[in-house]
């Protein structure tokens, strides 16, 4: 069996490894368009601040890892897929034949429709190549403008701030991380950033970028013009599905897949940022574009490519964790709540502490937290196990910090000290 995987991110690599484990005799080929060994975009911010070297971003640390597992890698950009011949056509004319194909081609930053956005001093922060370019310019006393304070924008925000550059953040929406945090949390993150010397402009658009002197001038919808030695664009990403145009594989925002991660072509699967997989909470199919989901997709797709029965996707919980200049935030599932649901929250503005829980009946369905680093994963556990909280729901409403107690109390038998109660 020939398994071909387009993409060398977490979904692709996990799928390749899983396939080799399930079927050591199979031929597994990964196609990637970047020269470096498979690496993690999650690690790029840490590279920017020199906490790690480039090899620290690699998904697998052993340089012979893929060779030892018998996974071959082909460098090239996919041009199209020939479903009839079961071949992947690469730019430059080479072809790679498959029995089963996994599309894990990830996503690419969108380029906002702004005059001057194509200027060489405007960069996304998505690839190692981008990171190298940004590190060159972002130095103490330079002016850097970050367009977009979504999840990705916030991830690189810290690195940009730490570079010593004067950082200005521009966000269209009325708060930071609008797709991950509610008003309270998004604005608290903004307050935090501003108290640490980063200028944050929400409800503001970049109108145009023009060359000015040695750098750029960024004009904003609030009428201001600010100088920039570098503009970093992080206004969102879109799935890499351009090469599917000539196929009959159905796409929406991403590639449509069923619960086996199978596309409308039964020999072709999709996983990761490119796939519109099942969302655990909404039960709808959507693009999540997060690391844990990519890994789940990759494992599941591989099992189905191999032909395992019952490897059915139950849905991935959408979740994110951010460290914005030391303020740690996270959100899970339906953090915005549902109609007829119940919620509770606890806020301490001075300490930048916030926790918001969303319930449907006595089940936790979503959560947001700020400043919480202890046991935060249990929020995922409670959501994904649909644990019936019983009396613990009211206790959580009274004190939302008791998440571990709620989990232990509603899932574990905890007796009294039997030792003394003979």
């Amino acid at each position: 069996m020939r398994h071909v995987i387009i993409g060398t991110g977490p979904a692709g690599v996990t799928a390749a490894e899983t396939l080799k484990k399930l079927d050591p005799e199979s031929v597994v080929t990964m196609i990637g368009d970047e020269p470096e060994p498979p690496y993690s975009r999650m690690a790029i911010p840490y590279l920017l601040i020199d906490q790690i070297v480039e090899s620290g971003t690699y998904l697998r640390k052993n340089s012979e890892h893929y060779k030892e597992l018998g996974i071959s890698r082909v460098e090239g950009l996919v041009d199209s897929i020939n479903q009839e011949k079961s071949e992947v056509n690469l730019n430059g004319g080479a072809t790679v034949g498959y029995d089963r194909l996994l599309i894990a081609s990830g996503s690419t930053p969108v380029t906002p429709p702004i005059d001057g956005v194509k200027h060489p001093l405007v960069s996304s922060c998505w690839t190692l190549e981008d990171a190298r370019r940004i590190s060159e310019v972002a130095k103490p006393n330079t002016d850097v403008v970050l367009m977009g304070a979504g999840f990705i924008g916030c991830i690189i925000l810290e690195a940009l701030a730490k570079s010593g550059a004067n950082l200005t953040v521009i966000e269209m929406e009325d708060r930071m991380v609008p797709r991950m945090m509610n008003d309270t949390a998004g604005n608290l993150i903004k307050d935090w950033c501003e108290s640490r010397g980063v200028s944050v402009n929400t409800s503001t658009r970049v109108e145009s970028i023009t060359e000015a002197g040695r750098g750029l001038s960024v004009s904003l919808s609030n009428g201001k013009n600010i100088p920039a030695d570098l503009v970093v664009s992080a206004t969102g990403v879109k799935p890499n599905i351009g090469f599917l145009d000539s196929t009959d594989i159905k796409t929406d925002l991403g590639i449509l897949v069923n619960r086996q991660m199978q596309t409308t072509d039964p020999h072709i699967f999709a996983a990761g940022d490119v796939a519109q997989g099942k969302d655990f909470s909404s039960e709808e199919f959507s693009v999540q574009a997060i690391q844990p989901t990519a890994v789940e997709h990759g494992q599941l797709a591989a099992k189905n490519m191999f032909g395992l029965k019952n490897a059915v996707h139950q849905g991935s919980v959408n979740m994110n964790v951010l460290d914005t200049l030391g303020l740690i935030s996270s959100s899970f599932g339906l953090w915005m709540g549902v109609e007829n649901g119940e919620s509770c929250e606890l806020l301490n503005k001075e300490r930048f502490r916030y926790i918001n829980l969303q319930f449907c009946e006595d089940v936790l369905i979503g959560a947001t937290s700020l400043g919480l680093t202890e046991h935060v994963g249990v929020l995922r556990g409670l959501i994904q196990t649909k644990t019936k909280l019983g009396v613990w729901k009211d206790r959580l409403i009274e004190d939302p910090t008791k998440i571990m107690e709620a989990y232990l109390g509603s899932t574990h038998a905890i007796g009294h000290n039997a030792n003394i109660m003979k």
């Binding site: 606890l346 301490n348 300490r351 502490r353 916030y354 926790i355 400043g371 919480l372 004190d399 910090t401 008791k402 009294h416 000290n417 030792n419 003394i420 109660m421 003979k422």
Partner: protein, 616 residues
């Protein structure tokens, strides 16, 4: 070494928090906690100062072993001048806040002056700040604890605070930490409230490191833990029954002060004993005792967690008292039980909850209620005085209503809040106040345990069992059995217990370990943690030094040898029943020899040679 070498000084006058180095020269002489804080207090305040004036200071101090893995290493003490006695006050508490303070990087906090408005201290590692406590003032300990936890959204902050009784001037108000652990005696909470200081909130994430010799420390502490678990008292009795293991024992030897110490045995003892706490009740088939619970680092776990019978009259329509909380210890069961003649276990538990909820010392509270009951029986206090409450001995309602009134500082509770001495003076019968130096007795009748009489009379904080618990030797035979009814040898026994206890109270360890440990077990743990070459001998000497320092403070405060005495009832009215029937406490046979052993003059003043020998 195990000291953090840092003191936090909080000036409530100008609301400043400053850091200063711990005086390590003093630490070598006074160890920590009780001893070292007494040294600071002696150096920094005039012993004659009004205890409730801004001139008094209040010190929260840990010991070098606080916050380490040494068993029971979670203690802290509050040292100040007592408003109840006018003498030195040193109240020791377990729970978790002592260790938290240490882990935040501090050995002690010195509070001085008085805030012009209610404040609380928030201490998170190196960062200390005084915060507005307007919302907390007028709230109980439990409400304060809940509000602060909600505010900080941190289940791991530890809180010590005063309740409404302290705000209302109750002279035996305690400082409650972790909801039901308390620096209980001598009115340390009253001093805290007098400074407009409502609470101390601590979060420590720095830890305690740098024990002098980690390998030796683990060896010594592990051996110590084994000794505790192998010992019948610390390994079986205390975990299973708590200090309540004593109720039936002490009653049988006829040393159970009953109905304001008029009797020495209580007919209802069995109904309020540890055994009774474990017995399923009729209403819901559950026992009073839910579980045992440990303080920080304690491998004994004598603490009780209890519930009140949900159908008990005291909590009718009060669902907030239905959950589990700190249960009866022997002292509280005695003070709220036999000493007021009440054998209703649930009424006792409820009154004990209230003592925790609003920060009253249950010993002084119970003893004051018992004095009021005696006054009531004599007709010296009338229904008019009590607001219609029948204060007869044996009335559970009188007990629970009194607790509610003192907690809130209302009605007759304001009289009860003065303590037994002032109450009896006010109603014209000072002779029935069962106090020494103004502090109420604990649960061991000195007519039946002679050494305890000498211990009470000479205790530096007034009547107290924890300054030298000779019950160990006289009743339990630890470390050697002595006859409780003889006075011979008791001055030596009392002195050595007092000195050893002063040393243990200065380490960060719990005095209950001494049922199993001697200084020979403790010194290696201290020595492995701290520089200074600590041995059992040097610790005992430090203990003696601390004892004399406290004594000197009291003398400077105006106390004299006339205060080293017991109420006439205990010296003249013989025990009526039990093994000690016919016996009074023969203090006069012991006191002169005790002074002489201590190297004090006949007037109870330390000789200059004594002070020189001890380096004072």
């Amino acid at each position: 070494m195990a000291w953090q070498k840092r003191i936090l000084r909080v000036n409530l006058n100008d609301q400043s928090c400053t850091e200063e180095p711990l005086n390590m020269e003093w630490a070598q002489k006074f160890l920590g906690q009780r001893g070292l804080a007494t040294k600071y207090l002696s150096e920094e305040i005039d012993p004659k100062v009004d205890a409730l004036s801004p001139g008094n200071k209040l010190i929260m101090a840990t010991g070098p072993l606080t916050g380490t893995m040494a068993s029971t290493g979670g203690r802290y003490s509050v040292i100040t001048k007592s408003p109840l006695t006018g003498a030195i006050a040193c109240s020791n508490s377990g729970g978790f806040i002592g260790a938290e303070l240490k882990q935040a990087g501090w050995d002690m906090i010195i509070f001085e002056g008085k805030s012009d408005k209610p404040v609380y201290l928030y201490l998170e590692d190196d960062v200390a700040s005084l915060c507005d406590a307007a919302e907390l003032w007028g709230k109980s300990v439990w409400a304060t604890d809940e509000m602060l936890h909600a505010k900080y959204q941190d289940p791991l902050i530890r809180i010590a605070c005063v309740g409404r009784s302290a705000e209302e001037g109750c002279l035996y108000a305690s400082i409650v930490n972790d909801r039901h652990r308390a620096a209980g005696r001598s009115g340390v909470g009253t001093v805290m409230a007098s400074k407009n200081l409502k609470a101390v909130v601590v979060r420590g994430t720095k830890g305690v490191g740098n024990v002098r010799d980690p390998k030796a420390f683990f060896k010594a502490t592990s051996e110590g833990k084994k000794t505790l678990s192998d010992n019948a008292v610390t390994g079986e009795g205390l975990p299973a029954m708590g200090t309540q293991v004593l109720m039936n024992v002490i009653n049988e030897v006829g040393a159970m002060p009953t109905r304001n110490m008029r009797e020495v045995q209580f007919e209802g003892a069995a109904k309020i004993s540890a055994e009774a706490m474990a017995e399923p009740r009729e209403s819901d088939g559950k026992p009073n005792l839910v579980t045992n619970a440990a303080c920080f680092g304690c491998t004994i776990a004598c603490g009780r967690i209890s519930t009140i019978d949900p159908q008990h009259y005291s909590i009718e329509n009060k669902p907030e008292y239905i959950g589990a909380s700190g249960g009866l210890e022997y002292e509280s069961a005695w003070a709220l039980g036999s000493n007021v003649g009440v054998d209703d276990l649930d009424a006792l538990t409820y009154a004990n909850f209230l003592c925790n909820e609003d920060g009253m010392d249950p010993i002084s509270f119970g003893a004051t209620v018992s004095a009021a009951m005696e006054l009531f029986g004599m007709g010296a206090i009338t229904l008019e005085d009590t607001g219609g409450v029948d204060m007869s001995f044996g009335s559970a309602e009188a007990l629970t209503i009194s607790a509610e009134l003192v907690a809130k500082g209302e009605g007759f509770g304001r009289e009860l809040a003065m303590g037994s001495k002032k109450l009896c003076e006010k109603y014209g019968h000072p002779e029935i106040s069962m106090t020494v130096k103004g502090q109420e007795f604990p649960a061991y009748d000195p007519r039946s345990i002679q050494g305890m009489g000498l211990g009470y009379a000479t205790s530096n904080r007034g009547a107290c069992h924890l300054r030298g618990y000779t019950v160990s030797s006289e009743i339990m035979g630890v470390p050697v059995k002595t006859d409780p009814l003889v006075t011979e040898g008791k001055p030596e026994l009392v002195k050595s217990f007092q000195d050893a206890t002063a040393a243990v109270d200065s380490t960060g360890l719990c005095t209950f370990t001494t049922f199993a440990w001697t200084l020979e077990d403790i010194a290696p743990q201290v020595d492995a943690a701290c520089e200074g070459g600590w041995t059992a001998e040097s610790m005992l000497e430090a203990g003696e030094r601390i004892w004399n320092l406290e004594r000197q403070f009291n003398l400077d405060a105006g106390l004299t040898s006339k205060d080293d005495t017991l109420p006439a009832r205990l010296l003249k009215d013989a025990a009526k029943t039990g093994p000690a029937k016919g016996s009074v406490n023969r203090l006069d046979e012991m006191l002169p020899q005790y002074y002489s052993l201590r190297g004090w003059s006949a007037e109870g003043v330390p000789n200059s040679e004594t002070m020189k020998r001890l380096g004072l």
